[in-house]
Amino acid sequence: MSDWVEACAAGDIDEEDVMRFDHAGRTFAIYRSPDDEYFATDGLCTHEKVHLADGLVMDDIIECPKHNGRFNYKTGDARGAPVCVSLRTYPVKVNAGKVLVQVG
């Protein structure tokens, strides 16, 4: 359960932005918050399996690019129609300029 994998370099993601990260047949979304913290969730929206990394990050919200479903990417919580199922989140740490995600 403690398999940390390197997702990207810390500088690869702008502040208040998101990036897609694929690993071992799974897809994740890695976020950098406006206050310069990093987070990770499942990569696909729970509504229609759209890649969230094409969506817009505003504060602590990621909005799905397709139908504007919203999630708090720090907690994974779904924030109203059309999404009702929350996202799974994953621990993230930054080590020597690398963003590591615990994908277990």
């Binding site: 094409d54 969506g55 690019p65 504007n68």
Partner: protein, 404 residues
């Protein structure tokens, strides 16, 4: 009580509970299904392996939230004085507040000769009937080069049917889509093998129940196993009209979605309302997100809120690998600034005479334009007048304009 169990009515019923309302909530719909999302009907419901309804709620959720869903029944009359609605099964139901979310129905082609092979798409059952004819080798004629028709054309090609699209206007997507973007979509369809006949009225149709023959204005004939007619939608207003409510291209409501009767509201495809972002211009929108937003807003105002519909119109369409998204009403614009993105995607920003950003239309593969269209929508809502050079330069992040 909510009449109309589509996206709008369903969302409104759920929103009433989300807002803490504890009185009885009844949702009346004429379809046999739970409220479901209609956008997939012209897309995944055609091409997916097993077509399934994408319901917005389950029976269990309705039970848990004490929402009574009466299906397969129409509302036939509203007695405003008595606050009672009569239903098609002979029963009647009292209401304190009423929301009309009756939606829209396909505009009928006013021609003789239409039979069983000339169909329309509105419901899941319509979609199943169309799907049965979209197999390889079949010939499909699509009458109307709007979104429904073009999405169906794309689905039919994916399934291997031969497709002809017939459009009376000089180009496809005349209403609401800039010519530059319509051309990209036109070419995509031609590249996929769709025959598009624009500027072609229909002189005659003969449908013997097995085959449809369509005679075009120029005398040519298109023969098909199925003709799908997608020439727009009309709001369902008869119930409201008979109850004496004002109709103006839809059930006329104010910016809080109230009719002139303080106990009756209308929302979604069936209503026309003043759009705040364009100085109160009265519009009627046939769009999924509008149905959701207005359902939720009506619920708030039914419970005593006084919130104004302030949203910017937004919709999308998927055809082949392309997605189109439009925020705002592009006919409000007088000039256009183009912003090119990666992978051939681009966005047209529509500016009013005074430089205000009033709409943005984007097209590209996948969700390439989604983020910038969403930011444009926020700029439109703020009534911003960004510098055209900034809008046109990919190097300038739209988010930075929002902060300005």
């Amino acid at each position: 009580m909510v009449i109309g169990a589509g996206e709008c009515g369903g969302r409104a019923a759920l929103a009433l509970r989300d807002l803490g309302f504890e009185g009885p909530v009844t949702l009346v719909g004429d379809e046999p299904h739970l409220p479901y999302e209609r956008p997939p009907l012209s897309k995944e419901a055609m091409t997916g392996e097993a077509p399934a309804i994408k319901a917005i709620a389950t029976d269990a959720l309705f039970a848990e939230r004490a929402i009574r869903h009466i299906h397969s029944v129409r509302a036939v009359a509203i007695d405003r004085a008595a606050h009672v609605v009569q239903l098609s099964d002979g029963s009647s139901l009292p209401y304190e507040k009423l929301l009309l979310a009756t939606g829209s129905v396909p505009r009928k082609l006013p021609m003789p000769g239409l039979g069983g092979r000339c169909v329309y798409l509105r419901t899941f059952n319509d979609a199943l009937a169309i799907r049965a004819h979209l197999s390889a080798g079949n010939r499909v004629a699509i009458i109307g080069g709007g979104f429904i028709g073009l999405e169906l054309a794309a689905a039919a090609r994916k399934l291997g049917a031969a497709v002809t699209v017939i459009e009376a206007q000089p180009r496809i997507l005349m209403r609401g889509v800039p010519a530059e973007i319509a051309e990209i979509i036109h070419k995509a369809h031609e590249a996929e093998g769709v025959a598009i006949r624009t500027g072609q009225g229909i002189a005659a149709i003969d449908d013997d129940g097995k085959e449809v023959g369509i005679t075009l204005a120029d005398g040519q004939r298109v023969v098909a196993d199925l003709a799908v007619i997608g020439i727009g939608a009309v709001p369902v207003t008869a119930l409201a009209a008979e109850a004496g409510l004002a109709i103006d291209n839809g059930i006329a409501v104010d910016e809080q979605l109230r009719t002139a009767d303080p106990d009756i509201f209308a929302a979604g495809d069936c209503c026309s309302f003043p759009l705040a972002v364009y100085g109160g211009r009265r519009v009627r929108l046939e769009a999924w997100r509008n149905a959701q937003e207005q359902g939720a807003l009506a619920a708030k105002n039914i419970l005593g809120g006084e919130e104004v519909h302030a949203a910017v119109p937004w919709f999308w369409s998927d055809q082949y690998g392309l997605t189109l998204q439009i925020a705002g009403l592009s006919d409000e614009g007088r000039s256009i600034v183009r912003r090119d993105l990666d992978d051939g995607a681009f966005i047209l920003f529509h500016l009013a005479e005074d430089g205000r950003l009033v709409a943005a239309s984007g097209i590209g593969p996948g969700n390439a334009v989604a983020r910038d269209i969403r930011l444009a929508e926020m700029l439109i809502a703020k009534r911003a007048s960004p510098a055209p050079e900034a809008l046109g330069s990919q190097a300038v992040k739209l988010k930075s304009l929002l902060a300005a």
